[in-house]
């Protein structure tokens, strides 16, 4: 399974980041080309809004440049990048805690690149419900589902990102899916009643 926005040439990004760490900051533009869309989608699905998602994506690339000296090959580029992304999101949440969050089901309209996915109104409504269920999850559980389902990361990588064993990462993703399933079921019942 290959999730959206990911690519199999991790070694290339590692090489580019190693070059950035040596002072060749221009190499970051290659990493940006490879990763900006995936990062944007990660943040969009976390925040539910276009503008903060773009700001956070931008912030991650700035932080990767700033903390380039901390980059170590052993950990893997993706794990390192998503650790930075999670920290950037945590800072964003702290900063905006008092602001009104995106209301459930009120995520900004997404213009899909594949309109045929939305052939029927019923399917659109079902996807909207699924989206709401994902939005209702606590941030840390939503992060786990996003990393495993959408960002295409292995459980081993997720374990390194969130700081737990691979087996624990699997169990946590299972639990997050279970909770989302329960929320999704509740939402369907609400609609039906």
């Amino acid at each position: 399974m290959m999730a959206q926005g990911t690519r199999p040439t991790q070694a290339t990004d590692h090489e580019l980041m190693a070059a950035v760490a040596r002072g060749d900051v221009a190499s970051m533009s290659g990493i940006y080309e490879h990763r900006n869309r995936a990062l944007f989608r990660f943040f969009y699905r976390l925040t539910g809004r276009q503008a903060p998602a773009e700001d956070l994506t931008h912030e991650v690339f700035l932080r990767m440049i700033r903390y380039r000296h901390t980059y170590q090959a052993g950990d893997g580029f993706e794990a390192w990048m998503y650790r930075i992304a999670r920290n950037a999101f945590a800072d964003y949440v702290k900063k905006t805690r008092l602001e009104m969050p995106a209301a459930e089901g009120e995520m900004e309209a997404v213009e899909s690149a594949n309109p045929s996915q939305f052939e029927s109104l019923a399917k659109q409504q079902d996807l909207a419900t699924l989206h709401r269920a994902l939005r209702r999850l606590p941030d840390e559980k939503r992060e786990l589902i996003l990393l495993s389902r959408f960002q295409g990361l292995s459980y081993e990588q997720i374990g390194r990102i969130v700081g737990c064993e691979t087996g624990t990462a699997k169990v946590r993703v299972f639990r997050a899916m279970k909770e989302m399933g329960r929320i999704y079921g509740d939402l369907l019942q609400e609609k039906a009643s």
Binding site: N36, H131, Y155, K178
Partner: protein
Amino acid sequence: MMCGNAKEWMAAAWRGELDEAAEAQLKRHLAGCAECSAEMAELGALWERLGDLPAPEPSMAQHVRWQAALESLARTEPTGHSTAWGSNAWKFSLNALWPRRPVWQASIAASCLIAGLLIGAAWQHEKRDEGQMAALRSEVETTRELAALSLLRQQSATERLRGVDYSQRMPTLEPRVAAALIEAVNHDSNVNVRLAAIDALVRAADDADVRHSLAESLTRQDSPMVQAALIDYLVDSRDAAAAPTLREFSSRADLNEAVKQHAVIAARRLTEYR
């Protein structure tokens, strides 16, 4: 296999991380456990359906900002890594404390030199990074302005609304952006964009030129909602100079009755602020 292990394996199966032997073992467990089997069916289907959620795309503005930021960084990035510690560091005298024995003299000198090099390198490094990041963040604000201006010119109303949103996240409302927002209030075909632009201009309410422009804009508007929003803007900014404009506006024959009353009351309140 216990049910607890099965959960771990189910998650692995969703991602295709199970080898054949493990998959067969999981299947055997599911065949004999109704609860796990139901969970696998339900959550597995949910996992698959998540793939149908649309994939959002970043706007062109993000690319513009990034390019500008990277160019800015390239300008501020020094070539090479300077860790040199100048010989001037040793200008002060330690005569009073200086030991007589050459072995102590050498030890102290070496220790000081190493400490100096380490501190100096760290300080230079930190200072250079801070300078670069400050320049970069400043550039980001500039590019945010460019992004706002670019988005406000887009054909799609959604993009123009994003442009207004960008302008609101700028630390200060730059004159060029304020002018673009006034232009949007005056001429945008979409009422929501006009209303959002009026809200975004609240930060410029201290600027008499902005208030004057919006007072003039009032007479051009055909939407009662926009008219009411502009009247509120002028009242909230306590712009007494707008009172005559409001009085004249309230006498228009084609005006919505509620807006007319709103304008009359607003003109009266602004007169009181004189």
